[in-house]
């Protein structure tokens, strides 16, 4: 059965399929390639963020079938056309909590991961409060900019790579 939350993203050459129900938040995709897989952005998959070859490499590292890909030339035309951008997209962070993998996620504290020369990636159950003390939102996953250069502060938009951010200096 098709899950209505399933999504697909294409760059014209390949199509990447995302199945939220299979996602165990292994974080492999955005650790490896935040330019493409960025939970802080909508849509969270940006197929223009890296060359096809690199996207394929990372998709193959997904430990579950949450991420898969096909070459467009191997797909039916109408399969590809059902590809239009969607308005209300789920991302790893908006997944229904009921579907979170039981106790583990509920009892484990929020995990904050520093990406090398990149953002702060957060997963868990947490709140983000803006500079004015307003609650931006409750989230399950996001990425905060730490290079100082994002155009969509406080979240990472991939700029760190463009400006050659290095955490060393």
């Amino acid at each position: 059965m098709e899950d209505p939350r399933d999504r697909q993203y294409t760059n014209g050459e390949i199509t990447v399929f995302w199945k939220p129900s299979k996602c165990i938040h292994a974080t492999t995709c955005f650790r490896e390639l935040i330019e493409v897989f960025n939970p802080g952005r909508r849509p969270w998959v940006n197929m223009e963020g890296a060359p096809t070859r690199r996207i394929i490499e990372v998709v193959k590292k997904c430990p579950t079938q949450a991420l898969e890909f096909k070459y467009n030339r191997e797909m039916d035309q109408d399969e590809i056309e059902s590809n239009n951008p969607v308005v209300a997209e789920e991302t790893p962070e908006t997944l229904n909590r009921k579907e979170e993998k039981e106790e583990e996620n509920q009892t484990r504290p929020t995990r904050i991961n520093l990406m090398k020369d990149g953002p702060i990636v957060v997963e868990g159950d947490f709140k983000v409060i803006g500079p004015e003390g307003n609650t931006l939102k409750s989230m399950l996953m996001t990425s905060f900019c730490r290079c100082g250069g994002s155009k969509s502060m406080p979240f990472c938009d991939g700029t760190h790579r463009k400006i050659g951010f290095s955490e060393k200096d």
Partner: protein, 64 residues
């Protein structure tokens, strides 16, 4: 659902990210650095003490 002493991320204007509540902070190689808040992580990119804020954001005129 278990009360997960909700972790809070406060985005300080033109300054660091303030984290409180329960959490685990991992470095770039996946080692735990700390579980103990509140902590202040650099958002401006200029700290000499990354990932933590060392106050450099002021001198660097960071806005965001």
């Amino acid at each position: 659902m278990m009360e997960n002493k909700n972790t809070q991320f406060k985005v300080n204007a033109d300054g660091p990210l303030e984290i409180s509540g329960e959490f685990e902070l991992f470095d770039t190689s996946g080692e735990i650095i700390t579980r103990q808040g509140p902590i202040y992580l650099c958002r401006c990119g200029n700290s000499k003490d990354k990932p933590f804020c060392d106050g450099s954001h002021k001198a660097s005129d960071f806005s965001g």
